[in-house]
């Protein structure tokens, strides 16, 4: 479920908790739709307290990431628990989505991207 959202240095942070599956994705999808309406979307998803993710949860993150990148932004995630990390590896989405160990690194990735571009 979605348990919180905040803004830090122009970056939108979504915090998820528990199971991220077909039953809990609608709230996250709605939030992502709203946030990706702003340009450029810079999104960090905190998954430290997510203990399960299914294909619907993964698809939501992929869609958010694709939409963000189409608009010259990005969606990154951090804090994967081991069982969740295994799902990302099994689907190889860990190669496609930028994953960080902690929030500081995830947030810093956006300033790094800014440096890279300029």
């Amino acid at each position: 479920m979605v348990i919180g959202e905040m803004k830090l240095e122009g970056i939108d942070i979504l915090t998820l908790e528990g199971r991220f599956d077909a039953h809990t994705v609608p709230a996250a999808s709605k939030w992502l739709e709203e946030v990706t309406a702003k340009l450029p979307p810079q999104i960090v998803v905190n998954m430290e307290d997510v203990n399960f993710v299914d294909s619907a949860g993964l698809a939501t993150l992929v869609k958010g990431m694709k939409r963000s990148r189409e608009l010259d932004g990005n969606l990154v995630i951090f804090g994967l628990q081991q069982p969740v990390k295994i799902i990302f590896e099994l689907t190889r989405l860990d190669k496609a989505i930028d994953i960080f160990d902690n929030e500081d690194d995830a947030v810093a990735s956006f300033s790094q991207a800014y440096v890279d571009v300029n």
């Binding site: 077909a22 698809a59 990148r69 190889r92 496609a96 930028d98 890279d116």
Partner: protein, 401 residues
């Protein structure tokens, strides 16, 4: 941030209607979804040759499609013809939509055709194989491929070689986690990934409220081997005589081919129990009514082979389910997003209690129905295609260094 190529020319080796080849429906829906993706600039279909009076047709919606009819079912030169076609059209990436008998019913044609991904990869093109089955899980006897142990062994040996050839592709996508596990363990494969099958259509939202009348417990399937109804009848009898007089049981379906006469014998043995209906074979058009009238669907299984098609059906009708606590079934269905009440197989009392937990809590029953409906909707194929495109873009990026 990762920068990815966003104007792809994608070649897809597949069956596609009007070809009647296996996976043609999957090919149709996959291609349809692929065409709608903004990062796809052009789609080149490397498809089966059609008879003179047939042709492939595509509307104007989405990315342009060009057709190369470059292989023929049961021909022995399909792999080289596909390679030649790829070299002519020079796509950014090639996707193969395959199962083991895609290129032929004959063993030689089927096996030689499956060398195509290795040839295309060797020619320098990023290659992704979507493999719908693996030899390790095919029952060769039932599938009609082998009629003796010797033949079965020979086919498996060829299957091992063919699988190794398929694994020469850059990426092999499988639709079931167990398949990934088998190929990783048996072949040491590091390029196999899980990509869900995807659903073609979302079932319409069902009614979660029950029709007027008795509360129906329903079980559906072919009975007599590992699906047995004795305990379910006993559990229903206990419910009827202990606070649930309006409960009825519907046993929907026929005997398993291996146990002729099972249901008739069971009906006779329990003829004194009231409120039990044996429907016999349920025609397709009657299936929705049978499910819709049910308050709960019960799976009186003594063993399982994994997830169940009936569970998916029950979910699509928004039904609560009661399942046996066997092996990793609980874990499996939870992973697929379903919810159920569990009972201990062999105990009619445990089964009665599990059913009562559902019937006595209408809120819980509806909540389970909603959850099972959502689980049955699965992931739309358009979302699955997004995953493939990401993988393709990563492969291209890696090739380009």
């Amino acid at each position: 941030m990762k920068s990815l190529k966003d104007e792809l020319r994608v070649a897809v080796v597949t069956t596609h209607p009007p070809s009647m080849g296996t996976l043609n429906e999957y090919g149709f829906h996959f291609v349809k979804a692929l065409r709608q993706k903004p990062e796809v600039k052009e789609l080149i279909l490397l498809v089966e040759e059609l008879p003179d009076n047939q042709q492939y047709n595509f509307d104007d919606g989405g990315a342009p499609v060009s057709i190369r009819q470059c292989w023929r079912f049961n021909a022995l030169n399909n792999a080289t013809r596909i390679l030649s076609a790829v070299r002519q059209v020079k796509p950014d990436v090639v996707l193969f939509n395959l199962q083991f008998a895609t290129f032929g019913s004959g063993k030689a044609a089927a096996a030689i055709g499956l060398t195509a991904p290795a040839l295309v990869k060797a020619a320098g093109y990023p290659t992704v194989v979507l493999l719908h089955n693996i030899m390790e899980t095919v029952d060769l006897d039932s599938a009609g491929f082998a009629n003796s142990r010797l033949m079965s062994g020979l086919i498996r040996a060829f299957g091992n070689v063919t699988t190794r050839l398929l694994l020469r592709a850059d990426l092999v996508a499988l639709t079931i986690p167990k398949y990934v596990e088998i190929l990783e363990r048996k072949y040491g494969a590091e390029n196999v990934i899980l990509a869900p099958h995807g659903t073609f259509e979302t079932p319409p939202m069902p009614e979660f409220e029950l029709p007027e009348g008795p509360m129906r417990i329903m079980t559906f399937g072919k009975f007599g081997t590992y699906k047995k109804v004795e305990e379910l009848i006993e559990a229903t009898d206990m419910l009827r005589s202990n606070g649930h007089p309006n409960v009825e049981l519907v046993v929907a379906g026929s005997d398993s081919p291996n146990t002729p006469g099972y249901l008739e014998n069971t009906a006779q043995a329990y003829e004194d129990v009231g409120g039990v209906t044996f429907t016999g074979y349920v025609p397709e058009e009657e299936v929705p009514r049978i499910f819709e009238e049910s308050a709960v669907v019960v799976f009186p299984y003594t063993s399982t082979t994994g997830s169940s098609g009936v569970l998916h059906q029950a979910g699509s009708y928004g039904k609560a389910v009661v399942l046996p606590n066997i092996g990793d079934l609980s874990e499996l269905i939870t992973e697929e997003g379903y919810a159920g009440e569990f009972f201990e197989p062999g105990s009619a009392v445990s089964l009665r209690e599990a059913i009562a937990r559902v019937l006595d809590d209408p809120e819980r029953r509806v909540q389970m129905g909603r959850q099972n409906y959502l689980a049955s909707c699965g992931l739309p194929i358009a979302d699955v295609v997004d995953w493939y495109l990401l993988h393709m873009q990563e492969l291209i990026k890696d090739k380009e260094g």
